[in-house]
Amino acid sequence: MSSATEHAHPALAHHFENLEVQKESATLGMWAFLVQEVLFFGAFFTVYTVHRNLYYKVFEASSHHLDWKLGAFNTAVLICSSLTMALAVHAAAEGKRGAIVAWLLATVVLGSAFLGVKVVEYHQKWVDQLIPGLRWGSIEHVGHELHLSGSDVDHAQLYFSLYFGMTGLHALHMIIGIPIILWLARRAWRGDFGPVYSTPVELTGLYWHFVDIVWIFLFPLLYLVGHH
């Protein structure tokens, strides 16, 4: 049964017997959210699979227009941010207040760097007139950019719609995640987290790692189609 100190813990909700039961419930709830997130992104991946099989050459030519070096750099940045997030959770479990704050802030810096590179890439698509529905160049211009001709040029809109849809939804997840991590850093600085209670840090970690996994699939599927 729960000890007197746990009952006194301000984070313990009245309907839970103790912090351990509360954490188990919260973790399962977070996983339920992540399972539906897998299917949310899964719809995009399914649409991608259908059209990549239909228009493989168009997808290959369009993919070659992306800068795989920027994609690889961002993959490395995001993996680094997953490490710093994992180390923040680790620091919380060990009750090292300064280390939690430092690792969380490092995660924010790396996440922001990722989004900065994304801005550079999106801007390049704007310059190259490769944004379907917003700034899509003439058939001659896009055909020249992508080394495509005829109806293939129109089909390239499918690839770039998926590119912006998938990387945009992924970036939105990071834009939501960064303020949450900043909020955690503030709470960690106040001394809210330690070996007894660090559930918010752990659950935000799960969310952040999930976002990393989505990118792990987006990188080869968008940047590395076909033989380079």
Partner: protein
């Protein structure tokens, strides 16, 4: 039970997983420069699945999680499989019963 909930993963495990993820990223970039014919996509996906598994098991602590958490992860993978496999089996089989298979509405391009 107690061991599972009180488990603190040593920091060196995280660093080792991080190193493996970086090496696998380098391998996937290298592999995209090789000509494996139609196998390029399969190689890229196999590497991505390996990386995702490492993240789920260690960074996301599923290796040390309760059976219910493990079941949730498996459910996500199985349902994603339903989504992709059933959708593709529909598209791929269209036109099989058509009197003129050459006019099948969905056909794979040559790789």
């Amino acid at each position: 039970m107690g061991d599972r909930h009180d488990h603190v993963v040593p920091a060196r495990v995280y660093v080792a997983v991080f190193a493996a993820l970086m090496v696998l990223t380098a391998i996937t970039v290298w592999a995209s420069g090789q000509d494996f014919g139609p196998m390029n996509t399969a190689v890229a996906l196999a590497i991505a699945i390996t990386k995702a598994t490492l993240v789920v098991l260690f960074f996301m602590h599923v290796k040390y999680g309760t059976p219910l958490i493990k079941a949730s992860v498996i459910a996500a993978v199985v349902w994603l499989g339903f989504l992709v496999v059933i959708t593709m089996s529909d598209y791929r089989s269209r036109g099989w019963l058509s009197p003129n298979p050459k006019k099948a509405p969905y056909q794979l391009e040559d790789r």
